[in-house]
Symmetry: C2
Subunit: 143 residues, 2 copies
DNA sequence: TAATCAAGTGCAATGGTGTTGCATTTTATC
DNA sequence: GATAAAATGCAACACCATTGCACTTGATTA
């Protein structure tokens, strides 16, 4: 189990310290994107700043991506299978369920946006963030 | 000039106080979305909280919409001509130029996202936020 | 016109999140 | 084992959103 985590960290050239292993483990366990505060609560009494910097390292090393939406705060998630590798994929729309508060990834539409804006209007696009709020299929049935 | 502003406010059933007229005027003058702090700076020494509540009122009364992206903070803009009326339109993608920091509205792609997620996957969508970061056509030539 | 009430405003203060500086601890290297 | 580099933990700060409360303004009614 831990060996697997260490393996992943080393694959991304991240020194496998205890804190980093803990944070990575949580990102792997979680079935949703996690905020700094959520991770902080899970790993209490681990230091907030250290987790913050760990997440920064993860984003920099492209093992995880960050989605920033104001009223939920920034959240972090591991890149999915489809984006493991050379590309840092944080462009799939993120769906925030207003019922269960879960943040999940949905299909990627960014290529449509990218294509339109770059070819037709000469925008130079660095990052596309799509955030969708509503009720997820899970919760639709629960209500 | 002021009569026009008063007219607009009354159209949206907002009592035309001096502060509200000032804020609305700035939103109209600005060719981009404005943050609370930007409006605060323009209207100095007007009270931040009052402007904040004025903007809340504007959003509630659907004369303006809010876009929230973390690292720029929340920004506000008047609904465009195409969305004046019954519908509160805040779903066009917002483009943040990393050079001039200007936030502008771009074409609307949300219908694509909405259609796909609702018909194919049973999501109930309340709000779509698309934020794009990069360099706008204006600044591309300047560099 | 004066009294009354609701709405709007301004000041003070709080809470949350992101962020930095610095001293200490841990880890890697020689 | 000594030294250097990286990671960590604590304290503190900055910024923004937000609330509480007292005061002012403006509208309504007696």
């Amino acid at each position: 189990m831990n060996y697997q985590i260490i393996e992943i960290l080393e694959k991304y050239q991240i020194k496998p310290t205890p804190m980093r292993m803990l944070v990575l483990e949580q990102l792997r366990i979680a079935r949703k994107l996690l905020s700094l505060s959520e991770i902080e609560a899970i790993l209490y009494p681990a230091d907030r700043v250290t987790i913050y910097r760990t997440l920064q390292t993860f984003v920099r090393k492209r093992i995880a991506h960050m989605v920033d939406t104001l009223h939920t705060g920034a959240v972090y998630g591991l890149c999915t299978d489809s984006c493991i590798g050379a590309e840092h994929c944080d462009e799939h729309p993120h769906f925030i369920c207003e019922y269960c508060k879960t943040i999940t990834c949905t299909n990627d539409f960014s290529y449509i946006i990218r294509k339109n804006l770059t070819t037709a209007q000469n925008y130079e696009i660095h990052k596309i963030e799509v955030t969708i709020k509503g009720i997820c299929p899970n919760c639709t049935s629960k209500r």
